[in-house]
């Protein structure tokens, strides 16, 4: 039950993008086509779960025993950057079809604040390893959902006649606001 509640909460109520404002750059940058949005979302799920696992182990086995908690930010970003590099090389060599699908998104993910954000959030919430992995999975699932919905809306917006000054990111943000308002309504579901 607890896990189910967390699923609903992480996807709808506290959506990482629309309620916690993490990962806006890819949200606005990669939401022009549904295919691109799906690839980006899948890559984020993949990397976020792996990054959470590695950073959790680093935090609990290295940083905390040696009293190096203040280096968290530095270590986490390095772990994520290195991880992304390794994943890219591994996929290229071992799983070419997956590399073809996710390859172009991987380099962009190092600087995606959703990944680092999730890794830090699970530390601040003091989850165990299993819970951390689950949370990172559902949170990035929520990210993917928001990204896909946004891409769907934007594909429609191309046909719409907009004033020049509203085009591009500007209308994207307004749309994100309306989506956020819709997701806001889910707050009533879980008290």
């Amino acid at each position: 039950m607890d896990y189910f509640l967390m699923l609903i909460s992480a996807i709808f109520v506290n959506n990482i993008l629309l309620a916690q404002y993490l990962g806006n750059c890819p949200f606005l940058g990669c939401s022009k086509e549904k295919g691109v949005a799906f690839g980006m979302g899948a890559a984020v799920i993949f990397v976020a779960v792996m990054a959470t696992a590695f950073t959790w182990i680093m935090q609990k086995w290295v940083l905390e025993p040696y009293g190096l908690g203040y280096l968290q930010t530095l270590v986490f970003i390095l772990v994520i950057a290195a991880l992304v590099q390794f994943v890219e090389m591994f996929l290229k060599k071992m799983v070419p079809p997956l590399y073809k699908a996710l390859g172009i998104f991987l380099p962009l993910i190092t600087t995606n604040c959703a990944v680092l954000g999730i890794a830090i959030l699970v530390q601040r919430k003091e989850f165990g390893l299993g819970m951390s992995l689950y949370y990172s999975f559902v949170a990035s699932l929520g990210f993917t959902l928001a990204l896909m919905l946004m891409a769907g809306i934007r594909e429609r917006l191309i046909i719409a006649r907009l004033p020049k000054s509203l085009q591009g990111t500007s209308i994207g943000l307004v749309m994100a606001g309306l989506m956020s308002l819709t997701f806001f309504a889910f707050k009533g579901m879980i008290g």
Binding site: Q72, T110, L121, S165, L166, T169, L173
Partner: protein, 229 residues
């Protein structure tokens, strides 16, 4: 002369969140009140100026292939020092900014300016660029924060603005308000830019693209690179 130019472009012509559309996450997240926005801006100024100076100093030593990793390490070390400084001297601010202090590392402003400016220019110019961009970022955050605070709480920097009869417009301080406000401000900035260049008889400028159209988000471009390579 050109130092002044590099400094002032960050304040209006290339103001980071509104014209270059850099660093949206903190712009949306920590602008519930004007003072939060200002605090975040101050932290970003610190990191941005120092990272620009350091990167500009070592720009000839860094091999081109690993430059992004080097930029990230430099920025991360600076962010760790900001975290420690804030914990020591501004703990309430550190708590209200929450997770967004460590996330300065992945703020596109830092990497964007390092890549676009500091890696190609001498130290003084880079410092001026960092200071201007940082100040522009702070101004924008304070402006958006003030806007949301005035309508959302009826206050400005904690002081009452409207009389007791004012009913707070809660929409503004919640997430949807942040998105819509920023979107409309962007539209207004685009409108102004178009109007200005029309009056000067120049061709219409491009509307603001996300993340200043930086390479990290230019999917189309990297697709080409992959296909070619």
């Amino acid at each position: 002369m050109s130092i002044v130019k590099e400094f002032t472009k960050g304040l209006w012509k290339e103001i980071p969140p509104f014209r270059l559309v850099l660093g949206l996450c903190p712009t949306l997240a920590v602008t519930k009140t004007a003072s939060d926005g200002m605090g975040m801006g101050a932290a970003v100024i610190f990191v941005l100026v120092l990272s620009n100076v350091i990167i500009s100093l070592v720009r000839k030593i860094i091999p081109k292939k690993v430059r992004i990793a080097c930029f990230i390490v430099i920025a991360a070390s600076l962010v760790v020092s900001v975290e420690l400084l804030m914990q020591a001297y501004a703990y309430p601010l550190y708590q209200s900014l929450g997770i967004f202090v460590p996330l300065i590392v992945v703020n596109c402003i830092i990497l964007g300016r390092a890549e676009a400016f500091a890696a190609k220019n001498p130290v003084l110019l880079s410092a001026a660029d960092g200071l201007g961009m940082g100040l522009g970022f702070t101004l924008s955050l304070t402006f958006l924060g003030a806007l949301r605070e005035i309508f959302g709480y009826g206050k400005l920097f904690g002081a009452e603005v409207f009389g007791p009869a004012f009913k707070p417009f809660t929409f503004m301080i919640e997430a949807p308000g942040a998105f819509v406000c920023l979107g409309l401000i962007l539209a207004a900035m685009n409108y102004l830019a178009i109007w200005q260049s029309k009056r000067a008889g120049l061709p219409e400028p491009d509307v603001a693209v996300s993340c200043g159209g930086c390479r990290a988000c230019a999917i189309g471009e990297s697709k080409q690179i992959i296909q070619e390579g």
